[in-house]
């Protein structure tokens, strides 16, 4: 205890004040939201003239792709950081920032913003990684005919067999092989995206509700394009019950039809978002408490607990990354199996 005091006391006396920019609420929000450039981190680099620390942002710039009905598509990069700088650069290309913070044309024409945002870029990155790994695995199987997997295929085979034997076959029976590509794509894409979100690269792919909405929409379309006659009759004209009950069941079943993919969307989005928020809040607690109480000792004390708790949450999130991918795949397969069941 005394040894700790000896170590901590000079620290407390020396740096009694923490810096103002340490409060991380805006940092957490920036991580969660989508943005026009991929801001990985800030690197401290010397000091400003007024003595505060100077930071160099490490940013991967992403192109703005804007479609204007008269001028067509224009692609350019914006290098500014403050709102005024961004506005000035946009105005060079005939665009400006609207009152709601969105890009608008100077001549007030309605435009289409197709910019490659942070999430879209990372999405493509994960997709290409998946394509590359899949190609390598497929080639490994083409090369050796005795069926023993080599290289990366050795890692993928147990996972693929798990999806086939535990998810596809029990739910889809003899249709399983037809839907394996769909299930595997969904599983590996969600899993890899979630794992990518756990790296310190400022990535939050599945914590974006637009993306999970699209995944749920794909699942919805696959389910309803393969639905049997019995499934539709159970929704719109429930067999074997009186007519008044048929009319009563119809709206409930129609709501249920949309509620299932809605729950898929919300579950994945909220799980990943909650994980990221929890992680950032636990680590951010160090800086918030140190800044509020104006003491580095408090920050150091809290950091012991925060780092241990953060480590635990990180381990949990690694599990959740795979679990959510499994649950999305499993529920898609269950709903698909229910929809394809022949009436009896």
């Amino acid at each position: 205890m005394r040894r700790w005091l000896v170590v901590l006391l000079p620290v407390a006396l020396g740096w009694g004040r923490t810096e103002k920019e340490a409060v991380p609420t805006s940092f957490i929000l920036e991580h969660v939201k989508d943005s026009y450039d991929w801001h990985i981190t800030d690197m401290p680099w010397g000091r400003n003239p007024d003595g505060s620390r100077h930071y160099i942002p490490i940013v991967i710039p992403l192109p703005r792709i804007l479609y204007h009905p008269q001028r067509g598509v224009s692609v350019f990069f914006v290098h500014g950081h403050t709102e005024a700088e961004i506005k000035a650069e946009l105005e060079k290309h005939g665009y400006t920032l609207g009152a709601d913070g969105k890009i608008a044309a100077i001549d007030c024409e309605p435009i289409l913003d197709l910019s490659l945002t942070k999430t879209a870029f990372q999405l493509l990155l994960v997709g290409m990684l998946l394509l590359w790994v899949g190609r390598i695995a497929a080639k490994a199987y083409q090369k050796n005919q005795n069926g023993v997997p080599t290289g990366i295929a050795r890692v993928l085979e147990p996972v693929i067999l798990f999806i086939r034997d535990e998810v596809a076959v029990p739910n889809l029976h003899h249709h399983a092989d037809r839907f394996m590509p769909f299930l595997l794509t969904i599983f590996f894409f969600i899993w890899l995206s979630n794992l990518f979100g756990l790296t310190p690269l400022n990535s939050n792919i599945m914590g974006n509700i637009t993306l999970t909405f699209l995944l749920a929409l794909i699942a919805f379309l696959v389910i309803h394009f393969n639905a049997s006659k019995g499934y539709w009759s159970h929704i719109f004209w429930y067999p074997g019950v009186p007519v008044w009950l048929k009319l009563f069941m119809m709206p409930i079943e129609v709501i249920g039809m949309f509620a299932k993919p809605f729950a898929l969307m919300m579950r994945l989005f909220a799980n990943i978002l909650a994980g990221h928020l929890m992680m950032l809040s636990i680590i951010g607690l160090i800086f918030i408490l140190a800044a509020v109480l104006k003491s580095v000792v408090v920050g150091l004390g809290v950091s012991v607990f925060s780092v241990l708790l953060g480590l635990f949450v990180m381990a949990l999130e690694t599990l959740v990354a795979a679990l959510q991918a499994y649950i999305f795949t499993m529920l898609s397969a269950v709903f698909l199996g229910m929809a394809m069941e022949e009436s009896h």
Partner: protein, 78 residues
């Protein structure tokens, strides 16, 4: 007035999040206790019971998470 609008927002969001967690906790707790009893009585069915437990836990959790998202939206979009 001593109660500001943003205070009411935060209070509502926190209260909603907490209530949703109570519901999900009761649901998943009951589910896990029943599943463990089932496994204790019939250990050979452990795999199947576990799969169904995860599936049902996901359904319970999904409803709770919808409430949590609403709570987050209250804070972010106020």
């Amino acid at each position: 007035m001593w109660l500001e609008a943003s205070t009411v927002h935060y209070f509502g969001a926190a209260l909603g999040a907490g209530l949703a967690v109570i519901g999900a906790g009761i649901g998943i707790g009951t589910l896990a206790s029943s599943a463990l009893q089932g496994i204790a009585r019939q250990p050979s069915a452990a795999g199947e019971i576990r799969n169904n437990m995860i599936l049902t836990a996901a359904l319970v959790e999904g409803v709770a998470l919808i409430a949590e998202v609403v709570a987050i939206l209250i804070v972010f979009l106020k």
